[in-house]
């Protein structure tokens, strides 16, 4: 369950070094887009790079780019491998085009197209697993890929999440009044909602034996995954945060640890979700460690978000600096929020992600 490679592409850049540098330097990816002028809100965090196609197929391109980055030092792929991918909607543009007369085959636009495309390109005999588990999907993919390696089912796995920009989501979240019309401010007293983003992030995971045999450099370990469901409401979290508490407790128990050095929060910038997350962290930790959400800078890439945050968490451990909670000026909650990038050696990180349908997930990552 050792991470030996990672890759990502986001609205803040299309390689890990660039994204982390821009995060630490306080840059923000959100801006208005001309093709969204007719939408209730035209601000989004999109990738402005002609290398990626517009329309159906964009998600596959984003995913494969991030995977190829993650495989840079993977060596020759052999043995039992797996591709584990999380996504919320699949190739959303394909559904949008079909609604207006397009004729995309369903198999090319549903979420499983990503795992199929990655496997076909890099290792056709790989086991293919697709999690349609909303904005928690990246944690599902990474945590379960690690578990499959731990059980001896696989020697290695490519695991992460992808979400191409979705006009359906840009409209839907706005109509649910969950989007901010200006700046995304997780945990701020004046937070007004989330911002839709796109991106992809993947890690390359290997068994201890494979890492040892090929002399690879360990970057991090995946040690815990906790999952639960609120079973309460299609979109709103439980006010008592019971489900989040269970997911975080299960992840910590699974990892065998009692504390972490940083909590990479879900922190979308929506009122109820941020409040429930803070309540849950207070229930689980007697002393809550430093907390920040990177969604103020990157937006919410939904099915890719948790995987992006996992890669950022690994980089934070490597570089001994944790990113700030961008745009947080007036914290509503009395926590140790990271208001500026903080130079600190962190050996264990909790990364939280929740989603529509009442999904709660928590992933524990540790220094290798």
């Amino acid at each position: 369950m050792i991470v030996t490679g990672y890759g990502l592409t986001t609205a803040l850049g299309n390689d890990p070094e660039q994204v982390f540098h821009r995060l630490i330097s306080g840059q923000n990816a959100a801006r208005p887009w001309d093709d969204l002028n007719d939408f209730p809100i035209s601000i989004a965090c999109r990738i402005d790079d002609p290398a990626y196609p517009v329309g159906a197929g964009r998600g596959r391109a984003l995913a494969l780019d991030a995977v190829n980055q993650a495989l840079c030092s993977a060596g020759q792929l052999d043995g039992n491998g797996g591709v584990f991918v999380g996504s919320t909607m699949g190739e959303s543009a394909g559904f949008e085009e079909n609604a207006l007369g397009g004729e995309h085959a369903i198999s090319e636009i549903v979420a499983s197209t990503f795992a199929d495309h990655i496997a076909d390109e890099v290792y056709p005999s790989a086991r293919r697993v697709t999690y349609g588990t909303a904005c928690a999907a990246g944690n599902y993919a990474i945590g379960n890929a690690a578990a499959a390696i731990r059980r001896g089912e696989l020697d290695w796995a490519i695991a992460g999440g992808v979400e191409p920009f979705s006009k359906i989501a840009q409209l839907g979240f706005a109509r649910l009044r969950a989007m901010t019309p200006d700046v995304c401010r997780p945990f701020d007293r004046n937070r007004r909602g989330m911002q839709v983003a796109e991106g992809a992030a993947f890690v390359f995971l290997e068994s201890d034996a494979r890492v040892r045999d090929r002399g690879a450099e360990p970057l991090a370990r995946i040690t815990g995954l906790g999952l639960s469901c609120d079973a309460f409401h299609p979109t709103a979290p439980r006010k008592d945060a019971r489900g989040v508490v269970k997911a975080v407790r299960d992840a910590m128990a699974h990892s065998g640890a009692s504390d972490v050095g940083w909590i990479s929060a879900h922190g979308t910038g929506t009122g109820p979700s941020d409040a429930a997350e803070v309540l849950a962290l207070g229930e689980v930790f007697s002393q809550i460690p430093p907390v920040s959400s990177i969604k103020g800078a990157l937006g919410h890439a939904m099915g890719a978000a948790a995987a992006i945050e996992a890669v950022v968490a690994i980089m934070a451990m490597e570089r001994n600096v944790i990113p700030a909670n961008t745009n947080l000026e007036d914290p509503e909650f009395d926590l140790d929020f990271v208001l500026e990038p903080r130079e600190i050696k962190v050996d264990r990180i909790l990364s939280c992600a929740y989603g529509f349908g009442g999904l709660n997930s928590a992933l524990v990552l540790e220094r290798a």
């Binding site: 007719d38 939408f39 209730p40 996504s87 919320t88 909607m89 699949g90 959303s92 559904f95 949008e96 079909n98 609604a99 207006l100 369903i106 198999s107 636009i109 549903v110 979420a111 499983s112 795992a115 293919r128 697993v129 697709t130 999690y131 349609g132 588990t133 909303a134 599902y140 379960n144 578990a147 059980r151 006009k167 359906i168 989501a169 409209l171 839907g172 979240f173 109509r175 649910l176 009044r177 999952l227 639960s228 469901c229 609120d230 079973a231 309460f232 409401h233 299609p234 979109t235 489900g243 269970k246 299960d250 989603g355 529509f356 349908g357 009442g358 999904l359």
Partner: protein, 134 residues
């Protein structure tokens, strides 16, 4: 697996499963849904409707149904399943992975019981099979 049953896609799948007489036990049960295309028809419908009404007048309540795991969410709410909640997407592999994950979670004592549901969709209809593992 039990079933199969065919229901119109406007009918609550949670209510249908509840009517099948399955009993979900203690807190912490897991739900493992396998589907090829859940949410796809709803996504097309949402976007069609948005363009017919105008973007500013699209139906906000329809948006959450476009998410792949919307049916898993509905089943969990109806039956009170609050443990791990999975939706696997794929043709044949999804049911295999759903069943495998349920068995792993039971063997590792992560859940006291597991409901595995396969949902095949065709226009306007859902074909549902299910099994309880414990």
């Amino acid at each position: 697996m039990r079933g199969p049953g065919t229901i119109p896609n406007w009918q609550s799948i949670g209510d249908w499963l509840s009517d099948q007489g399955l009993e979900v036990g203690d807190s912490g049960w897991g739900l493992y849904v396998a589907t090829e295309r859940s949410g796809g028809e709803e996504a097309v419908d949402f976007w069609t409707d948005a363009h017919e009404r105008g973007l500013a007048f699209s139906n906000p309540r329809a948006f959450p149904t476009t998410i792949v795991n919307a049916l898993a969410g509905e089943i969990s709410r109806t039956l009170g399943i609050d443990g791990p909640n999975y939706t696997f997407v794929g043709l044949d592999s999804a049911l295999l992975e759903a069943s495998k994950q349920a068995r792993v979670d039971l063997d590792e004592a992560r859940v006291p019981g597991a409901l595995v549901v396969q949902i095949d969709e065709s226009p306007g209809q859902r074909h549902v099979k299910w099994v309880v593992l414990s």
